[in-house]
Symmetry: C2
DNA sequence: AGGCCTGTTGCACGAACGTACAATAACTGG
DNA sequence: CCAGTTATTGTACGTTCGTGCAACAGGCCT
């Protein structure tokens, strides 16, 4: 990390590498979304959070919708990276890999309120913008494709593979959603157990 | 229905029963949310959709957040009513009632884009408003309680009942969400089949 | 050291926002 | 038929929105 925003106490404007600044704007967006919700998220709010001028956002993104889409893509990359890490740590046993997948889904950094807020803000754009809708379709298809591979390795019959992946994706998504939305209802461990039970019945 | 909005061609303002007008404002809200998305939904837009003056919304609701919350409660009532109808038509066999429940979840009027848009708009308020968060908790608890009863009638052991209800609720929610967001990915019939398969493994 | 490049600021602009409020018009009861 | 009630309108206000743009300033190269 080249420059730390908090460590610099200089009053004047600080120049950053374009990629670094761009990333800091994306992270500021997810923070504002988590704190204020989608309704309270604006260019000015994000700029204040990132401690930059509002005009800078226009300089990096064509509009606030593009910024939210970038934040969504960034979070998707974070989730994917966390998944890869969990799978790598799980070794080579197919069933262990599948268990690691669902366990990681209900633990930090994936089960996180800030992620959910960004997700919801993105969903709220799907209805109006067709390009956003396609981005969602693509990313969700990638999510299901990953599940399909894991299930195939566990010996699920090809004929049942498609619906099995849809089922597991829906269960994980539904559990993840409620876990973030109503944290007091059930725990991440309980969610993992539910998902593992369903996997048992899917691969039998 | 006392007065039909479409049949009257009179240019002047038309007075309505308060309850009727209130309901028409709520329905206009869901229509705008479905068409424009949460970002494009404003007091003026809703008023134009309902063919009334913007000031009237303030007269019936304390603010636009209250209106969205009312729209969410209204949709929840619609869903509950559709569920009751499906359950009544299913007869008394416990398993048939459970099947009717999931089948109804993935067919009109429940599997509907307008419902999803309202749902998402409501979710986007959960983060910022604690009273909205409690309304969500209450309504989702009622949803799970209904599932708990249906599962108990099917002979699910009391010890497993709580997690079974959470699991089925999450699966139905996840399937319903993706069915509305990406209609081309899988069909309502496939979603029903997935849910029935999971019920099979839950009650065994 | 000085000049170019560009990241960055700060503001200005028009539009749209949510809400308040007095005036108006449509029903109701006498 | 008239007065009272209230649903409804229309508008005005202050705020905030997203964006465009000219000026400023920090970093690199020669």
């Amino acid at each position: 990390m080249t420059n730390s925003a908090a460590s610099a106490s200089a009053p004047g404007p600080r120049r950053s590498e374009p990629d670094v600044r761009r990333q800091s704007l994306i992270h500021a967006t997810t923070r504002v979304l988590a704190r204020e919700g989608a309704a309270g998220t604006s260019v000015r709010m994000i700029a204040r959070e990132a401690q930059v001028s509002p005009g800078l956002i226009t300089h990096y993104f064509t509009g606030i919708d593009a910024l939210i889409a970038a934040a969504y893509a960034d979070i998707d990359a974070t989730v994917t990276a966390a998944m890869d890490g969990a799978l790598a740590a799980a070794g080579t046993d197919p069933r262990a890999r599948l268990d690691a997948f669902v366990t990681a889904s209900f633990a930090p950094p994936i089960a996180d309120r800030a992620l959910l807020a960004t997700w919801i803000a993105f969903w709220s754009l799907v209805t109006a913008h067709t390009d956003i809708a396609r981005q969602h379709d693509d990313q969700y298809a990638a999510f299901r494709a990953r599940l399909t591979d894991l299930l195939a390795d566990c010996g699920v019959a090809p004929a049942r593979l498609r619906l099995a992946a849809i089922a597991l994706a829906a269960l994980v998504d539904g559990l993840w959603l409620e876990l973030c939305l109503s944290p007091g209802c059930f725990s991440g461990e309980e969610a993992s157990r539910i998902a593992r039970d369903q996997i048992d019945s899917l691969i039998s």
